[in-house]
């Protein structure tokens, strides 16, 4: 197994009585775009700061590139950070900001000029080297912060919600640019954000944290289609959940008795025993609506629809199954509010979440 770019081992972080991060184990592979997402206060920023060295773990160990970083000050770590507030030095121009780390490393003048030039071109700010930060727009400042970090060729680049202050259009553009940049430069990116969509669009793998605990790590698909808990399921998208009990285990599927619906099969995590109470997760886009009449069990009434352009969201109420959401294509006729529809879904689209997990929605 190759050395992990970042290896977090049993790390805990306490601030007095508050436990910000608990029992964290995480590996970031070299060259990947790795994101940590979660609600405010979940510990993702604390984790990032511990990798950077601004906080010391109360317990556990963090390694970067195979080297134990315990007790190593930030200025001696092979990582660089892009801060949420950019933290550009106001009294230095763009060139000197970007060159800052190189000067600390006592790099020669000629090499500084070359490398800074490359970094500035990389973020498309050539020609602005003599500007001061306050003369630049938010997006430009953000790019300077990026160049300033990357020019030092760190083993890992840490990014702490860098796009938070930008407006939507700029943010989406920057997401594309960041992803392309990471691909071309090849540096391991460790990205923190509360925006699930942002993380999904750029990352190779995503970690979901909640209240200091790691809920799940995986590719965006895994997290979305095969969430480990109802917290994760809700955090990354809308979830329809049906209560049920496991009554059989087959090769790679479970048989489930779904309350109010009947026997179905579904995928699920390994090790669920017969008799376990579960929730069957079906994403809105997989919930089909038929307007012909039929068995009253799977009937639901349309509460409301919303037209979003490419999609249409339909809110439903079912006496047996509760409040549900379905997504349909934007084209086509919208179901009328108050009309009755029949729900169905394909077994391949169903996934089990243990009902007895600690993270309640």
């Amino acid at each position: 197994m190759t050395e992990a770019a970042v290896d977090i081992n049993g790390v805990e972080k306490r601030f007095g009585d508050l436990v910000a991060v608990r029992n964290l184990d995480l590996r970031v592979e070299p060259g990947e775009f790795f994101s940590i997402i979660g609600p405010s206060g979940c510990g993702k920023t604390t984790t990032l700061r511990m990798i950077a060295g601004f906080e010391d773990p109360t317990a556990g160990r963090i390694s970067v590139g195979g080297r134990d970083m315990t007790g190593v000050r930030p200025y001696r770590r092979p990582v660089n950070t892009v801060f949420q507030s950019y933290a550009l030095f106001p009294h230095l121009d763009v060139f000197e900001n970007v060159a800052f780390g190189l000067r600390e490393a006592k790099v020669g003048k000629a090499e500084i000029r070359t490398r800074v030039g490359e970094a500035v071109t990389l973020v498309q700010l050539q020609g602005r080297e003599r500007s001061r930060p306050r003369q630049l727009s938010g997006g430009q400042q953000q790019r300077v912060a990026l160049a300033r970090a990357l020019v030092n060729r760190p083993e890992v680049l840490l990014l702490d919600e860098p796009l938070g202050a930008l407006d939507l259009k700029l943010r989406t553009d920057m997401q594309t640019q960041l992803k392309d940049l990471q691909r071309s430069v090849g540096v391991t990116f460790c990205y923190v954000t509360h925006d699930q969509g942002e993380a999904f669009s750029m990352s190779d793998r995503v970690a979901v944290m909640n209240h200091g605990l790691l809920e799940q790590v995986g590719t965006p698909e895994e997290i979305y289609h095969r969430p480990a808990s109802s917290f994760v399921a809700d955090f990354v998208g809308t979830a329809n959940r049906f209560a049920g009990t496991v009554d059989g285990v087959e090769a790679d599927r479970y048989s489930v008795a779904v309350d109010g619906v009947g026997p179905r099969t579904a995928g699920g995590p390994a090790g669920l025993a017969v008799g376990t109470t579960v929730q069957v997760l079906v994403r809105p886009e997989n919930l089909q609506l038929e307007t012909d009449g039929g068995s009253a069990d799977r009937d639901a009434t349309v509460v409301d629809t919303a037209f979003l352009g490419a999609e249409r969201t339909v809110r439903l109420h079912s006496p047996k199954l509760g409040e549900l959401t379905a997504t349909a294509r934007g084209s086509g006729k919208a179901p009328e509010a108050g009309s009755r529809v029949r729900l169905s879904w394909s077994d391949e689209d169903a996934w089990l979440i243990p009902a007895a997990d600690r993270s309640q929605p």
Binding site: N9, V11, D25, T70, E215, G218, E222, S229, G271, P354
Partner: protein, 306 residues
């Protein structure tokens, strides 16, 4: 089935994680922080608190009239000396003069600050500069200039006589000239905090008040005045407290005739040599000030009224 997911439901089978290092690294932070505080401690404790404490201590001492040595012994004789009518009279006049001058200063300062705050930004800046620049000039020279201006046969005197007054103005070397001197020197210090308070008032509040039916006068009373109070109190403190202990102004504009507490105090230490009595005086001044400060702080609305 899916493999290792990390997190909640899977039991940890691996060895317990390594604990944080046993040895507590000597926190350079704590030592460095104390080192940073050292200069301030030196100047505040050694050169400010300790001397004041010493004075307080020796205010209970006495001076031997023969060898001029100062002895420390617990006596309240120095404080009792205040009750002699000479000193009491002077001290009372000191307090009255300072208080009345401060009040006049407050009224004038408030009006001026209010006027500034109602101007546009450029006019405001200009007016502020006009107020502050005199403050940057030599205090003693400015004070001396009033000797010229206030003396009989000086410009103000002649101006008053030109307006038809009989006799001379006879202001110089009286408590009035001292009052004018104090008013003059401390006016900028009164204006600034009041202005800052007033400037904070969101202009939209006036519109809101007007919308709710308030006349200009009532707007003033119910919007402006309450919000100006913190600045007003700050100004009164910054002016009133030092004014009580003024030395230079009574020296120059009092002509040695009208003495204030500050002069008496200086006298004890620089000429008479009655240090214990001087100490008692200093302590008394401090006590009066602390009482004043306490009362004023109580009158100040809590923190930021915004």
């Amino acid at each position: 089935m899916d493999g290792d997911q990390g997190g909640v439901t899977i039991e940890r089978v691996a060895a317990p994680p390594p604990a944080a290092p046993r040895w507590r690294r000597i926190d350079p932070g704590r030592f460095a922080r104390l080192a940073l505080l050292a200069p301030t401690l030196a100047i505040t404790l050694v050169c400010f608190i300790v001397p004041l404490g010493l004075i307080a201590l020796y205010s209970f001492g006495s001076v031997n009239q023969v060898d001029f040595n100062v002895y420390f012994g617990w006596t309240t004789g120095n404080y009792r000396a205040f009750t002699s009518s000479l000193y009491l009279h002077t001290l009372a006049r000191s307090v009255i003069l300072s208080v009345s001058t401060t009040l006049v200063c407050a009224v004038i300062g408030f009006t001026f600050a209010y006027f500034i705050s109602r101007q546009g930004p450029r006019a405001q800046r200009l007016l502020l500069v006009a107020v502050i620049v005199p403050f940057w000039t030599s205090f003693i020279v400015r004070t001396y200039s009033w000797v010229d201006l206030l003396q009989n046969l000086g410009p103000i005197d002649r101006f008053a006589r030109a307006l038809g007054m009989n006799g001379h103005i006879d202001i110089l070397y009286t408590q009035y000239s001292i009052g004018i001197g104090i008013l003059y020197s401390y006016l900028p210090l009164m204006i600034l905090p009041i202005y800052v308070s007033l400037e904070r008032i969101d202009p939209a509040l006036f519109d809101a008040a007007e919308d709710l039916g308030a006349t200009p006068w009532r707007q003033f009373r119910r919007v402006v005045l309450p919000m100006a109070v913190p600045g007003l109190i700050a100004g009164i403190i910054i002016v009133g407290v030092p004014a009580l202990g003024e030395y230079v102004i009574p020296e120059i504009l009092g002509g040695g005739k009208t003495l204030m507490a500050g002069n008496i105090l200086a006298d004890q230490f620089l000429q008479t040599g009655n240090y214990p009595f001087g100490s008692a005086l200093a302590v008394s001044i401090m006590v009066v000030l602390m009482v004043l400060l306490f009362m004023l702080r109580r009158a100040q609305p809590a923190a930021d009224p915004q």
